[in-house]
Structures are given as C-alpha cells and as structure tokens.
Symmetry: C2
C-alpha cells in the first residue's frame, strides 16, 4: 500500500499530504514541470480564482450568471480558446463553451465544470460568501485571515479560500486553465484537442442542459467527457468516478387552521400541522435511512461484480469521519459509507413551522413545510419516484395540490398538502472497463504518484445521464477539491493543496491522453 | 334559549350581536347608563387604549415594561387610585397595583389583568404590532384602515383595533377604568372597594408572581379576584370560567454532523437530525392529540358531576369553527372542543432546521429544533411533566443536556438532545358553587342581558394556581375580548363591540357585588 492509504485521521492526513507533495512516490517529468510552474505563480493563480469567486452566481439570477459568463469568456480567450455561449433561450443561464485545437491531435478531451453555485443565504458565514477570503485553515478556533498581498514566499498549502463555489465548482475551471498555462510555459503541448463545457445552472437542476446538448451534438463531440465536479476521497486520496446518483427535490407544505390559534383555547382539537408533518416524515423514512415508501427500491439496478470489487477496494473512512464530524452513531447500523451511497436516499434538508426559541408563541401554526432531496440510483427516474411518493401520500389520506389552497379545499379534505417537485435527473454508471476509462485511471494515478480511489458511482449528483443519453460518450469524473469543503453549506472553502494537485492532474490528462489512446 | 344561543356561523353571529347591542333581552338601569356614557365617549376610549398599545411590552425587555408601568400608573392616578409598583427585585418586570376605597363598602373586588404581551416578531403583520391601527373588520380581503380622527358619529362596533396585546391583555384594563368613569359620570358608585393587580410578565411564565404575592398578602386581600384575561366564548356569548389549564414550555434541539454535509456524499450515513426530530415528535404525540409519553395522564383529576353538567350546557361551536378556520378534520375523532380542553395537551408551536423553499441547500442539517407547549390539568404539575418527558426521551436513547454540546459529548452518545424548560405553573379549578361564584355569574348575566357560558376550566393558561395557593381566595375569570383575536399570533386585534360589552360587564360587577354579597 502506498503512503496515501495509511492515514485516516484528520491530523495525520494533513501530515501525509504535505509529505506527499514534497516526496512523490513515483517521479514524473510532466508533473514536476507543472509543479515548478505553479510554485512560481501561486499568488497569480489564487488571484485569478478570487476574481471569479467575487461574482455572485446563484442560477435563479440570470443577470449574475451572465456576468460570470462574460468573465469566463475573457479567461478562456486569453488562452486562445474559441469561445461560444450556448443557451436554450433568452433569460436562461447559458453554458460557456471553449475549444482549443491542437495541431496533430486526433483525440479530443472535453472538460466539464459548472460555474453556478448553491444559494448562499444561510446564516453563519464568517464573511460575505461572494467576497473571497484566504484563511489559515478549516473553520474552527484560531482561524486567521491571511492578507494575500503581504505574503512573501510560498503559500501554506493548508490555507483555504472561503467563498461560495470556492470548491463547488469554480476552482476546477482555474485548475484546467492553469494546467494549460503550465504545460505551455514548460514547452509541453496537450496531446489532445481541449474542449471546455462550463454549465450555468447545475445547482438548480440543469433544466436547460438537455436542450443545449441536443442542439450542439456535433460541436460537443469528444472521445471522453471528464466531469470536474465533486470532492476527492475523504482520505484525501485522488479519486475518479464512473457514475453519479440522480436527484429530485420536493417541497411539501401541510396546513392547519387558516389563522394562528391560541394553543390553550383550540389545541387538542384544531389539527397541528407541525405534528402531522412529523408523522408524515417518520412514515416516509426511518432513522437508519431506509425509505418506507412502498416499491421505492423496485427499480434499483444491482451492482456488477467489478463495481462491488471497486467499492471493496476503497479505503475505510468511517472512523475518521465519525471523529471529524462528531458523530455518536451512523445510519445503516454500521454499514460502510461507500455501500450506503450505492443506495437511494431521502434527505430532509429543512423544516419550517412558525417560530422556535425566543420567538415562539403559544399558538397552533397555520402550516408546516419540509424540504427534501431524493438521491436516485440506476434505474430509478425522477418521474417514477414522484409517482411513488405521491401514491404513498394519497394512500395515507393526503389530498395533494400544487398551488396554495383556498378555504373550500382545506375544508373539503381531512388532510391537504401542497407539493412541488424539481425532477432533476436520473443516475448513471459508466462501464469501468473501457480503454478510455483505463487511460484516465492511469494518468490520474501518475499525477497522484500512487494508487487512487475508483468509485463506480459518486454519492453526489452530476447530470451524467443527461449527457450520456444525448451524446453517447464515455464520461468519467475527475474531481480535485477537498472533501471537507462545506460544499452547499455555510463557509464553503477550498484547500490550496487541492488546487495545486488539481492543476497537476489536469495537466497529465491533457499531456497524456492523446498518446495513450493513439494520437 | 336567548337570542345568543342560536347563531353559530360567523356571518349570523355578527348580525345577532349587533341586534343584541340595540335590543337587550332584559332591561337594566346600570347597563343603560354605562352604555350611554360609552356612546358619548367612544373616540376618547379608543384613544386611551391606542396610547397604551403603542408601548412595546415583551416582558424580556424590562425597560419597555417599565415604560408601560409608568403609563398605567398615570392612568390609574387620574381615577384616584392609590398606586404602588410591586416588584420581586431590580431588573424584573413589576406588577402595577392600584386601590380605590369606597366609603361604606365592606367587600373588596380585585381585578387582575396583565400588561405584557407575547413576542411579536413573526412575519405577516399587516403593520407594526406596536403602532395600533383601526381597521374595518377581521383580517381578510377588502380590509380597510380607518382614520379615527376623521370619523364622525358612532364607531362601527365591527371595526377592530390591530396591535400586539389589543386583546391579550391591555383592553380589559381600559374597560375596567372606563367602567369606573361611566359609573361616576352617571352618579353611580361601586358597592365594593376596587383593587387592580396588573401583572407585567404573564406571557413569559409569571416567574416572579409568587414572590410578589407572598410579600403582599395583606395588601392583596379581597373577597374575590376576577381574572380579566382570555376570550369570550366562540359563539360570542359572554363567558366566565372557574379554572384554567397550567402550562409548561419546552425547547428541544437535536444534533447531526458538526458542519452541514453534502447530502449526496454523506446522506444515508451521517444521521439526519430533522428526521430524528420528526420521529421524536411522532413518538410523543399522535395525530389525534393523544400524548404517548408513558404515565402522562396518571395525575389527571376527574371532573365533578357539576363540572360535567356545566360543560354539557356549553353551546356547540364545532361546526362554526370548522368553517371559520377552514378545517377538514379535527383532532380527537369528532370529540367536542370543550371536552378536549379538559384534557392535557401537547402543542408543537414551531419547527426549525436549516432552510426550506428557495433557500434550501442539498445538505444534511447540523441541528433541528422543536418548540412545544404543554397544557396541564389538575393535578399535574410542571415538574412532574418535565420528569415524565425526560424519562421518556432517555428511554428512547436520548442523552439530554442543557447547554450546547461539545464534540466529545456528541461523539460519546448515539443521540444527543439539548432541552430547555419553562416550568410555568399548574392548572386550577375553583368551586363553582360558592356564593361569590354565583354572584359573579348573576351580574355578568345581567350585563349580557341573557344566559352566559360557565366554563369549569378555560383551555388557555392563567396563573390561577399561583394566586390560589398563596392567597387562598376565590378566583373567577371574566374575559371580554373576541375569540377570533389572533391572540399570540400575527395581526392580533380587538373588536370594538367586545370592548363596549366589557365596559358594561365590569361596571355591573363594581356596582352590584357589594350589594349581592351583603355590603
């Protein structure tokens, strides 16, 4: 086993990674040159990322997205890319497409990343999520702000950039472009034509992605698409993935009395919507993660033997994570995290009814709301999941509506729930044994200087099925960001060492793929 | 049956009440004179109430409470009351006590009201809760603001004053003082000495009330205490009550991972606190109001035959309320509201975990919180309820703490919950057959001009047990405000007709109690 498989604890890992950066197990000329370039341009690289992170990028605000697209266009054109904006129509978030032809290259590699981000309105951010700040480490005591301009000498690779999308998913864009800069500065050339597809609404469910892909199948042709999204393995080992779970979101609101009622004078008689919601949630999912909706697991495609073997080879992470996250138990009665991620999941992402704490009044709330995301696996589809959930709710006596109810509707049915879906996309798993799959694995391993993790399917969601259904192209995920990046939460951050590693990984792929696949 | 028992529907009720004001079933000289006084001073009476409502009065802000006490002192002194501020110590909300000796009176009547209010931070108020606004009716379409100064002629009795504490519980104070003004202006005198006890922290659990009462037992002696708090009967009939349920509040927070986690990469494995909270709530209470905590009903004292008879005489309100509130079902499988209010209750007053709707992120929340109020009946005590709830939670595997947990605590126990109680006070029921009980019933009936509702115990909570345990005095509730006042919720309001009726009720009691009890 290499040095990377030994350490599971947070503190130990930091030491291991630092050592690894200085003493790679396997020497490699491409990586060494790229590393030297990076070491000479660290502040410049961070500065370019900061400039991108300073642009608010929640995809529901298309004007913000357009500003990001303009900024990205300029970044790509500086490197000689031919850039186009691909859109499904006016007022929709565009994808930014860039193409760089390499003389003599027979193969084409497409890099995918997304430049939109999750909403950042949660309380608890250390600073404005769209004003990137360099800090001395992960969130916690003794965390210090770093003034980049006043730093002399190399940046501490454990420092982190705090901002929405620092990890998910703007830093891979900067890593790809810096990889190209580093190759060129070192007198090396990509062995493949390089294409970039930068999506603008991934975090909002990729509503227009299918349209964009269908309209541009020729333009977007490639020997492989590399998905530069998601985190590295929690052990901090580099990881590639051949699939990703699908996702569907559901907002459910249940109703009590038309106006808030004094709980003393009407409680025990007027139905309490917060109690009804609690029962509804408890009936849908147990405390071990098992979804109790009849037939929910019917469409789950079993894992192949190769997939099971790959999962078995993934290093155990559970003890380290339990420590890091302060977990006194895990769901699934002790099952491994990786095994759990191969199953569909129901996550309650938010609850809301009236007020709690100091603001709570002794009243029966008028409504209670739950926000849920479902993670899907092959061969579930969002539509089938919707149908099963709604059939279940109806069987439990709920009258389902899609708009705010009027009084007559509320009176006509014992239980009324308003339901809103975002039927995002299905799951996908790519064949791990294709030549292109093996070439990517080899090159990422070369960049990492040791064994990497190969996941048949990522727990998170990337719209792989949307691409593969339309483009019929092999897709492999090559993520670079730290696993503890608070992606989707407050204080999202990127560890600098992960950005440095990412530059080397993408440079190896650009330099080597054409050669390995037959230039 | 009188005119007041026939109408149950909202629209019909409004007609009935208006007619009743003009054509009382039983003539009465005291009431007629008081009514004439009120009719001549309507804008002045509303103006005095508006001035009091303009003072923010959440009892956690003692400086606000002191400003209210100053204002009330001036109002009482204008009427010749000897006023004292009764306090449990510096920095605590004081009670305002006023005493008016009547020459020749042998009996003393104490009026209780509270001048603090529920927090008003909820979203959805039509206007600032501490800037009273007169409007054309209850909340709903076509509601109009009324400019009091520009009104000529009598005020429409269906107009309402919107403000926090408009109903709960500042308007009774103005009704009592106006009753006294009206008697004097009519050449009538109270037949009893009149005392006022105005509490300053009822909505925060009356923490210091016991101390104030114990230190002032001689000062606060009276033949009866009248509690001027709570609403009239939902049929709009006048109602008196001989008891009130007790109350205890609980805030419970359960914990997930230390930081928000991407639901795709960690869901199904890292425990979801919102799901755990849903199960916990569902295990504590069913959807029919039944509390599932073992032994919870052990201390419930059965109703007497007289109490059961009084309840049976209370008019049915269910069909009208179900219509008014838009209820498609009720808890308790069709049981009557009044019967349900004789049982203890668990009300979920709020839920909170991460975000819902547009702000929801696909993450596992770090915590989930529920806010609960328990309504107690004799002979339950807040302490016994706390013990039973905590024993239940521990039996379900929860490790209970009272401060925010550290990482070591979270790791040491499979389930950790932070619990905070407000052990307010127990329930009470006064003997309905005492002479003073019968006298109050007779006089309120006289003011109402027809039969009234006599409730053995109000569903809401008033600290009757605190008074009766210390002062050993008969206590009877004489509420005046409209039942549909949004008490404790947004857009709390007072219907003017209820203020007018309240003035007449309190005037009858002041004028008649001494005579009826043997002056």
């Amino acid at each position: 086993m290499s040095w990377r498989s030994a350490g599971l604890g947070g503190a130990f890992l930091l030491v291991a990674v630092t050592v690894a950066s200085a003493q790679p197990a396997q020497p490699d000329p491409v990586r060494d040159k790229v590393r030297a370039y990076r070491a000479a341009h660290e502040k410049e690289i961070v500065g370019e990322l900061d400039g991108l992170l300073a642009l608010p990028n929640v995809a529901t605000r298309v004007a913000d997205i357009e500003r990001n697209a303009d900024h990205l266009t300029a970044m790509l054109e500086r490197r000689g890319f031919a850039v186009q904006r691909l859109s499904a129509g006016p007022g929709t978030p565009p994808a930014v497409y860039g193409e760089l032809r390499v003389p003599g290259a027979q193969r084409t590699l497409m890099f995918y990343a997304h430049y939109d981000g999750q909403p950042a309105g949660q309380k608890g951010w250390l600073s404005d999520p769209f004003k990137p700040v360099l800090r001395s480490g992960p969130p916690g005591p003794n965390l210090k702000d770093i003034d980049l301009q006043s730093v002399t000498g190399p940046l501490d690779p454990e420092w982190r950039i705090y901002a929405r999308s620092a990890s998910d998913d703007k830093s891979p864009i900067v890593a790809i472009l810096t990889a190209l800069d580093a190759l060129r500065a070192s007198g090396l050339q990509p062995s493949v034509n390089v294409k970039l597809f930068l999506e603008g609404e991934e975090e909002q469910g990729s509503e227009h992605l299918g349209t964009i892909l269908r309209r541009n199948t020729a333009l977007l042709a490639a020997d492989a698409w590399l998905l530069c999204d998601g985190p590295v393995h929690p052990t901090r080992r580099m990881q590639i993935y051949f699939g990703a779970r699908g996702v569907a979101g559901m907002e459910l609101t249940v109703y009590g009395p038309l106006r808030p009622l004094h709980s003393g004078h009407y409680g025990n008689w007027a139905p309490n919507p917060a109690v009804e919601l609690a029962h509804l949630i408890a009936e849908m999912r147990d405390e071990e993660g098992r979804i109790l909706i009849p037939g929910f697991y019917d469409d789950v495609r079993p894992l192949t033997v190769a997939e099971k073997q790959a999962i078995a080879l993934m290093p155990p992470v559970e003890a380290a994570l339990e420590d890091e996250l302060g977990l006194g138990r895990t769901e699934g009665k002790g099952a491994r995290l990786q095994d759990r991620l191969m199953d569909p999941a129901l996550n309650v992402r938010g609850l809301r009814s009236a007020e709690v704490g100091e603001g709570a009044a002794n009243a029966i709330p008028t409504e209670a709301q739950v926000s849920i995301d479902f993670r899907l696996v092959p061969d579930q589809t969002p539509q089938k999941v919707k149908d099963k959930v709604e059939a279940f709710l109806r069987a439990k006596g709920w009258h389902l509506i899609t708009e705010a109810p009027d009084k007559e509707t509320l009176k006509a049915f014992p239980k009324v729930a308003r339901i809103a879906w975002s039927l995002d996309y299905a799951a996908h798993r790519t064949d791990m044994s294709l030549p292109v799959s093996r070439a990517v694995a080899t090159l990422v391993e070369r960049a990492a200087g040791g064994p990497i993790v190969q996941a048949p399917m990522l727990g998170g969601s990337v719209p792989m099925s949307t691409f593969t259904d339309i483009l019929k192209v092999p897709m492999i995920g090559v993520p670079i960001v730290n696993h503890d990046n608070n992606q989707h939460g407050i204080n999202e951050n990127l560890r600098l060492q992960n950005l440095w590693d990412g530059i080397e990984v993408y440079a190896e792929l650009m330099a080597g793929m054409g050669t390995m696949m037959g230039k």
